[in-house]
Symmetry: C2
Subunit: 258 residues, 2 copies
């Protein structure tokens, strides 16, 4: 099983949209894919019709089991109505973990250890992160082999990305672990100078790690989330759907090379 | 001095854009306004040309001074190039506060106490929050008289808002404090069903607290952030500029009534 994560401290850049739509492409191609929602706000969980405030079995339980060193009764995985696409929902209680466990040792590997139980059952797992640098993102970094960083093609996003990449390398040094990362330009609008110029700067500054395509602005993403169907499942031929399909091909090629 | 805050756990809904552009309207009308950036990611700080990683005097120092109980040497306020519009920048170190201070008593009033020093100098202060429920948002809630909740007019945003309002009332009960809140519909796109329907639902569910206008989708917001000039200062007659000008009028009227 491949393990990817989508992360960026900046909010609203397309982390959840990327996780959901890449999973959609995998499902459409007949693969088995697991999504993990580590965002206490639970956009991915709401997308598939569950309520992060009322959820019983969620990613939060994985942390509680690890804390109480109870025998891990096994992760509870929820099914979606799309065959082969399952998920581990978020609970709003995840928001308390930093205060409770932030300084405790060993809590950075909870997700990595939990996913070991399901490596045989899925081809790909994608972890969706909240927009903050904390225990939840550290867990996703430790668990994944590739980190996807969606970056909105607008000026302020550049500043935030430098910091993000800087923080990543610090965490990696401390963990003596090598995580590959890929920068995914999102909300690309070819009518906007801000978008065109930012993309140019991103390609120069991150030559090796940036994807050579873009996720365009596409209003159908919002319409799709209203129906709870990933755009790549509902209409793979849409602008946004095609872009995520190309992104998946690129990422698989990249994994093959490394 | 009036004190407002912009908050929502959902990322990318227009918290920073609202704070910056409401401040822009105030500046254009000749008032004195102070912005406070409590987001460790520091979009507002980057907007005005400073680097949250390299900043000397920031909102983080207010927490450190309170922790060490050192005589508060006074907040350091930075000027922007817009006369009458000043700000207290964020430092990326704010991200460590939840782990360091989360459970300590009395750390919820740091910002409220700090702002007491400047009430004579400004007509309005607006606090920009990070997209998470934690110590920083609790500080903003305790300090403000009115909370602005930008809500993207899309389906998933509805789910998140219910949780947000629920969390607010819990915090208020614990603090025995009444904070008025106003819901501000953002990214409104009249061509989209998802947008029109969500706005309809929002108006029904939050009749008393929702603003009767909308902030439309306007590509000029991104162009403005590239130049570091609030759209309401650069071009108040733009779609987005006019909308924030109307919002400010509405909020001032609301404050008069209560
Ligand atoms: N390429 C796109 N074009 C247009 N709208 C998009 C695009 N990608 C995402 N969106 C919309 O933008 C909003 C934000 O996207 P999303 O929730 O995926 O971002 P996020 O980074 O996961 O946010 P958060 O920081 O809250 O986790 C959603 O309403 C989504 O439907
Ligand atoms: N009404 C709008 N129309 C079009 N673009 C907008 C609008 N409001 C904000 N934007 C753009 O959307 C992006 C997100 O806005 P902003 O950073 O203000 O959200 P936020 O809620 O502060 O995000 P965060 O959760 O990271 O703090 C920015 O690039 C901004 O320029
Ligand atoms: Mg998300
Ligand atoms: Mg912001």
């Amino acid at each position: 099983m491949k393990i990817w994560a989508t992360a960026n401290q900046k909010g609203g850049v397309g982390k959840t949209t990327s996780a959901v739509n890449l999973a959609g492409v995998m499902q459409k191609r007949g693969h088995k894919v697991l999504l993990i929602d580590l965002d206490p706000h639970g956009s991915l969980t709401s997308y598939f019709g569950l309520d992060p405030d009322a959820i019983q079995d969620s990613a939060y339980d994985l942390f509680q089991q690890s804390l109480k060193k109870t025998l891990n009764t096994g992760i509870t995985i929820h099914k979606t109505r799309f065959k082969g696409l399952d998920f581990i929902p978020a609970s709003s209680a995840l928001a308390t973990l930093d205060r409770q466990l932030g300084a405790k040792d060993g809590m950075g590997l909870v997700i990595k250890k939990s996913l070991l139980q399901v490596t045989e059952r899925y081809d790909l797992a994608i972890i969706d992160c909240p927009p903050m640098l904390g225990l939840l993102m550290v867990n996703a970094l430790a668990a994944c082999e590739r980190l996807l960083i969606p970056v909105q093609t607008e000026f302020l996003a550049l500043k935030g990305l430098e910091r993000m990449v800087h923080t990543l390398s610090m965490i990696q040094k401390a963990r003596k672990q090598e995580v590959c990362y890929s920068i995914v330009p999102t909300f690309y609008d070819q009518r906007l100078n801000a978008s065109i110029e930012t993309l140019g700067t991103l390609k120069k500054q991150y030559k090796e790690t940036i994807w050579d395509g873009v996720i365009p602005v596409d209003t159908q993403f919002r319409e799709a989330s209203q129906k709870g169907i990933p755009l790549t499942i509902e209409r793979i031929s849409s602008k946004g759907g095609r872009a995520y399909s190309h992104l998946l091909d690129y990422l698989f090629e990249l994994d093959e090379e490394s």
